[in-house]
């Protein structure tokens, strides 16, 4: 491991200036559960870690029924599922925050870091996609917004340019008769990485018998997490039925481009996309109906 410097930034501008000066030799540090391991194991060489978790904007956690959720990029996972109002409004995000690592990881690891680490198997990314999260990025030229489904560009790769870092997420307020759900397949009960993950959000009509709209997000079946756009669109206006859900799950299966590795084969993963998409949709529908 090469020695590196550490500077805790107090403001967004200070962090941007430090990151811009060192270019690709600097990285923002939040919970560190991926970055510290990567650097200490020599998989990533750095000259500087800029600690961004004491900046007020990265710590914001505010929710209202009118404006939705403003979630700082450094907020640790446990704060999401510990908040009853946020868990009720965005249950799919809470589902994911609850299953990332164990207790000690959830005390440090942030949703923002999970996205920036850009693992194809990241559990919070399908919920961010289905909840229409917008990523607020600060950089030398000011701030810009990027939809969650466009943030990752490859395994470990993101749209972030040198000098930029993820500050927060803006997640729209949940619509009437809507809910979300996330689940993954792992061979163990806890502490594992998704073989496949699937998230869904649904908006139903006032009778809760037809879909107004739906969104499906998938993990670990392509170089980046995916927004299953066609499968999602296929549900709009359709009656809530096994037939509609099964057809959407079948459509989601066609965008999977997984690899075979120690966790699962291509065939298993493609099959799992269909099974998990169906369960995620039914889970979200069930939550709307019982609310």
């Amino acid at each position: 491991m090469r020695a590196f410097d550490y500077i805790p930034a107090k403001t967004v501008d200070e962090a941007v200036a430090l990151l811009a000066e060192k270019g690709d030799q600097a990285k923002p540090l939040s919970g560190g559960t991926d970055l510290i391991v990567m650097v200490r194991e020599g998989r990533r060489q750095l000259d500087l870690m800029v600690d961004v978790k004491d900046i007020p904007e990265t710590n914001v956690l505010s929710y209202s029924q009118e404006t939705g959720l403003h979630l700082g990029a450094a907020v640790p996972c446990y704060q999401i599922y510990a908040d009853d109002e946020i868990s009720a409004a965005y249950p799919g995000l809470a589902d994911a925050a609850k299953i990332i690592g164990g207790t000690a990881i959830q005390g440090r690891a942030s949703v923002g870091g999970n996205l920036c680490n850009a693992s194809p198997a990241a559990d919070t990314i399908p919920p961010l996609i289905v909840l229409e999260a917008v990523c607020v990025i600060a950089g030398p030229n000011g701030t810009r917004d990027v939809p969650a489904e466009q943030f990752c560009t490859g395994p470990g790769q993101t749209v972030l340019e040198n000098g930029e870092f993820l500050v927060s997420f803006k997640i729209p307020a949940p619509k009437n008769n809507s809910s979300s759900y996330y689940l993954r397949f792992i061979p163990r009960n806890e502490m594992d990485i998704a073989v496949v993950g699937a998230g869904a959000s649904v908006v139903l009509d006032t009778e809760k018998t037809s879909f107004v709209s739906a969104r499906i997000g998938l993990a670990a079946v392509a170089p980046t997490p995916l927004f299953a756009e066609e499968a999602s669109a296929s549900l709009a206006g359709r009656e809530v039925s096994d037939e509609a859900v099964n057809a959407a799950a079948e459509a989601a299966r066609h965008i999977a481009r997984p690899i075979s590795d120690m966790r699962g084969t291509i065939e298993q993963r493609v099959h799992l996309v269909e099974v998990l998409t169906r369960r995620a949709l039914n889970g979200a529908i069930h939550r709307v109906k019982e609310s």
Binding site: A3, Y6, I36, T103, A104
Partner: protein, 162 residues
């Protein structure tokens, strides 16, 4: 070569100052700089929980916290549990219930148990197993560990009530 950084933090209620390189983990600072060898190095990458400590009230793996990050913070380690001549009830019950075999994971389990019971004095078995999912025992003595945690909860809450 980055300079060593001066850090002031509170460990087990006492103000502690140390010098460390930014790349040193809190675990390395505790063990190598401060001589506190209670937290163990298992995997050194956040999987096994042998290095568990409580940082500002939250359970963390000290192998994936940088020493420099603890400036101004509060750290509780397994060394802070016992009083002179008297073990903490959790330690007593781990001994009584024989909830250890080789013992390497034990400090981590005890600290994680302390963090759980501080937050939830009467956990269910499910909650105990869920909370401790990030603490691995490679002797696989989980059943006795879980029973020791449940016994600790029962005995500690009855002591509070008495």
């Amino acid at each position: 070569m980055p300079k060593k950084v001066h850090v002031q933090t509170t460990i087990n209620g006492e103000t502690v100052e140390f010098l460390c390189e930014p790349r040193q983990s809190l675990l390395e600072v505790l063990r190598d700089e401060l001589g506190m060898t209670g937290a163990k190095e298992g995997c050194n990458n956040g999987n096994c929980g042998a290095c568990s400590v409580i940082l500002d009230g939250r359970l963390v793996n000290s192998c994936i916290v940088l020493g420099v990050e603890t400036e101004g913070k509060t750290v509780e380690t397994v060394e802070g549990l016992a009083e002179p001549g008297k073990l903490h009830p959790i330690q007593e019950i781990f001994l009584e219930d024989a909830a250890l075999q080789c013992g390497i994971c034990t400090p981590g389990f005890i600290v994680a148990t302390k963090a759980l019971l501080d937050k939830n004095p009467n956990p269910t078995e499910y909650e105990v197993r869920y909370w401790l999912a990030g603490n691995l025992c490679r002797c696989t003595g989980y059943d006795k560990i879980v029973r020791a945690v449940l016994d600790s909860a029962q005995i500690m809450s009855s002591e509070v009530g008495a």
